[in-house]
Symmetry: C2
Subunit: 246 residues, 2 copies
DNA sequence: AAATTTGAGTTATCGTCGTTAACGTTCTCA
DNA sequence: TGAGAACGTTAACGACGATAACTCAAATTT
């Protein structure tokens, strides 16, 4: 243990920090990001607003930290979704994680908007911590998908698209990113398929959460399932073993 | 003409309304949606804030109207992008419109966030005006894509995906939407391809505009071009005539 | 042409917000 | 036991949306 005795004061402090963030979370859920205010938090906690400055540098910093926690939370949810599936079935794992991602985002719309919508100034951007893969929750969140995808590739299950589809410029621009990975031998076509899948997943979830699909669909789930199936058919050439999560 | 003499007062009024919206637009561009405030607008116009209430019911209503104008603006940009291309080449038209959509959104990031990000309370949602296809700018914006897509289908150029890929539930849920169209005979697989394409386009543009791709790519354009090419290859079976717009 | 109504703008005010400064109070530790 | 840090308070500043009451000029009506 690095901290033997958390020293009473430190215990109280961490408890207060937790209560502040938890109150902010509740305000976020109930009224959107703009409902998070220092005065509202303090009011609900039976305090006065300036007291919060003992714990956070500013409202912006508070929201940034809340956002980091949310990334960790969704990462944990994704990790939990893949655990019951054997590690040698990465396609099924990816499938379950995609469904869980959609489920989490739909059940946490305000959080999703904060994390994946218009970037809030102060919230750590992903590319700022591209070097160390664990420091930021965002990278960890991406890695969960990436690890399974690489496993799938190592199994030889991924059919990279024909070369003529891959633009030379794409290969050129992706090169520095490949160097970041611990698998630099990953073909450019496979990386393209990964990014393409992440974009399709994000696109569908974002449109659904933001209500931009309600004009066409009463329920997005069938389209989601169909599109995910089409994607896995595209990259593996076979239908994946599906079990619609939840 | 319905209005013979716009009656001096009305001319002044519309001019003031225009100036208010144009000032709001500038504030939006310079400082994001949160920078739009009645006081700031009034300050820049040499007025006092309450005067604006003579022209708009509230800040929310002002932003909603600004948003409608933006939908019309992007619709016009898309329309201008397809005009130089013959109407009997809908695939090329769609391709050009997709590129133009990305270009417009990248050059108008703050506007994009307002229109396609987290929905702002007060901004008219698309599904509220699903009946009349012209009333809302959003629908007109969607229609520009839809029209070309239907033309492409009428030419027999779209290969619908195999039936087993299309979920029965998808067909079920899309039925009411098909009835809305003037082409109810449109196969469910074709509608799926359209929505899938729109989602892929939105996903890529949204991630790029929001900066959620900068961790992987210094320049998103090659991936955009590649993915669009892959999409058109998927739905038509052949590579479209491309000319990377701008 | 005079009287009246309408429209557009003002000032004053209320309650909200983030943030800072100055001031107590309480707990911890040497 | 005393010094000092940590935690909390009140007071205040400037910015925000919104409303009410008021002034003034323009348009309309008589």
């Amino acid at each position: 243990m690095t901290t033997v005795t958390p020293s009473r004061r430190e215990r109280l402090r961490t408890a207060t920090v937790a209560e502040i963030k938890q109150t902010a979370r509740r305000l976020l859920v109930e009224g959107g990001a703009s409902a998070i205010s220092l005065r509202a938090i303090a009011r609900e906690m039976g305090m006065t607003a300036p007291a919060i400055y003992r714990y956070f540098e500013s409202l912006e910093a508070l929201i940034a930290e809340l956002c980091s926690d949310l990334y960790a939370e969704v990462s944990a949810a994704l990790d939990a979704a893949r655990q019951p599936i054997p590690a040698d079935q990465p396609a099924t794992r990816l499938r379950a994680m995609a469904s869980e991602f959609r489920r989490w985002c739909i059940n946490h719309r305000a959080e999703f908007a904060l994390m994946f919508g218009e970037p809030v100034p102060g919230v750590p951007e992903v590319d700022e911590v591209c070097g160390q893969h664990v420091a930021s929750g965002v990278v960890a969140f991406c890695e969960v998908f990436m690890v399974e995808f690489v496993t799938l590739w190592r199994q030889g299950k991924i059919k990279p698209p024909p070369d003529e589809v891959i633009s030379d410029q794409l290969a050129e621009k992706l090169a520095p990113y490949l160097a970041e990975l611990d698998t630099p031998e990953l073909p450019i076509g496979v990386v393209y398929l990964f990014l393409s899948g992440w974009i399709r997943l994000y696109g569908m979830v974002a449109m659904e959460v933001f209500g931009h699909l309600s004009w066409a669909l009463a329920d997005v789930e069938p389209l989601f399932e169909t599109d995910m199936a089409a994607y896995f058919h595209l990259i593996t050439g076979e239908a994946p073993a599906i079990g619609p999560a939840v």
